[in-house]
Subunit: 294 residues, 2 copies
């Protein structure tokens, strides 16, 4: 079986084009799209990610405002910043970079973001609405997975979907998303007994566990669609015997791909599409704010 | 196999006693527990339910305030009432009777209830927090199912749980609840193909579909714990040939019970416990409001 390789990078490019067009249209109507990102602490990785985000926003015409605060900021002061951004009519989207320092309750902070500006879709109210099947804004990774499924031609309704890994930001939202599409969904995780018995029932297998090549051929039913959310860095010897760093997924691609109808590569699958979904959420949040009497 | 019959009515009586004691303790500390219920339209069934609710509250010492409005109330006027109740410090719990007239968006109205006063646990923010595994207040039916599971001695962690029926107020919250307990959860519904293949893997089977005796012996694995959320009224001939009205569950009790380790009866299982959980949520909401600086 020659699987369809789901090219997340190419789909992301299309979505960025579409977002850029929508931003231009909004701007022509006198509305700006502005994402404010709050970064607490001067973690170099966080800075780097924020820098990449700024460039991505710039590419599609979204104004980007980075609000940096030191790691010792109090929770109340952070909440006050979020309140200001919520109230600021020139800000149409708000996101909070993770991780936060240990003295801040991340759930309380995320909850403070106005659900209509919550471009990551992580506010409990948005999660609750996703659960109710009517999200205002859905979590980016779940949207990315969903877009890949859609582009594979797979129709989830009535099919068996198995989601391996039940983290708050990946597995659980994806489980809800698939349930909203009327798949029969089995949610597996590290306490699941006899994982292959479950995954071998899967017409659609979504994996986000953070373990390199965790899913092997024994886990996969022939003809399945496999979406790999994992992004793991491993060091291994190449054919020339030299050690090199590689990025691999949670799925053992070389062994699983021959069994699949469609599969995502890592890198180049879910990752780039997740970033594109943040941009799409940002422009959609701006449109919704513009179109409603609030 | 002689199953344990999970006596919801008896457990509910224990919970009511415990709630009554907590209400007395709060009152001794100068805090009243008051549930305000909003009933829109003069539907006799709704009135009857509200009356039963008032009696139940009275029994455990919870003050009950029924706010009745005509069916033609505007959505804005209804939201204004909820805002008033949210702001009223003498009201510690708020609930909205369903169904609402068609011109009112039920999701928007439920969302308006302060998550700390939302004693039914239906506000999207509470659902989102349940999803995150940290509910302030969880939905009553899911709590009732959970209590029955706990009393059966079943430990969900790592076990296979199958939830048949994925309604917003029953199946979906229960699915989330079991996931928060680290069960491997399969969510089934009317579009599921080959239902028995799924249900026969279930160590725990929860059913809420609203179809009399939908689950039969062929669906159930020997030794399973079965929780029946259905309450259906059927008319059938008794042994004497006379037609009579009976209340039956979604599980064919007589045929399924002999296979089970434990099972809920209908009536007398989930139903009475759901009402008791509303009372418990009401007193817990009052306690949380008293204990926090808001």
């Amino acid at each position: 079986m020659t699987p369809t390789i789901l090219d997340g990078a190419a789909y992301a490019a299309e979505i960025r084009q579409d977002v850029a067009q929508q931003v231009r249209a909004l701007r022509a109507g006198g509305r700006d799209v502005c994402l404010a990102a709050v970064l607490v602490g001067s973690d170099p990785a966080g800075r780097q990610y924020a820098g990449s985000q700024a460039r991505q926003c710039e590419q599609v015409g979204i104004s980007y405002r980075l609000v940096e605060r030191p790691a010792d900021i109090s929770q109340d002061a952070l909440l006050a910043i979020l309140d200001e951004l919520n109230a600021d009519p020139t800000v149409t989207g708000v996101m909070l970079h993770m991780p936060l320092p240990a003295h801040i309750d991340a759930a309380i902070a995320q909850w403070r973001i106005d659900p209509y500006k919550d471009v990551e879709g992580v506010n409990p109210a948005n999660i609750g609405l996703l659960f109710y099947g009517e999200p205002i804004i859905a979590p980016c990774t779940a949207l990315a997975v969903n877009e890949l499924i859609r582009r594979s031609g797979f129709v989830a309704e009535g099919r068996n979907a198995v989601v391996v890994g039940q983290s708050r930001i990946v597995g659980k939202p994806i489980t809800m998303f698939l349930l909203a599409q009327n798949a029969t969904v089995t949610a597996c995780h590290k306490l699941t007994r006899d994982l292959p018995a479950h995954t071998n029932q899967a017409d659609l297998l979504v994996v986000g566990v953070g373990i390199p090549r965790f899913i092997n051929a024994e886990h996969v039913r022939r003809g399945a669609v496999v979406i790999d959310v994992g992004i793991n860095s491993v060091v291994e010897r190449g054919p020339d015997g030299v050690e090199q760093r590689r990025t691999v997924g949670d799925v053992y691609f070389e062994r699983v791909a021959p069994l699949c109808a469609a599969i995502t590569p890592v890198p180049g699958g879910v990752g780039p599409l997740t970033v594109a979904m943040l941009l799409r959420n940002t422009v959609e949040a701006a449109r919704k704010q513009g179109s409603m009497a609030r």
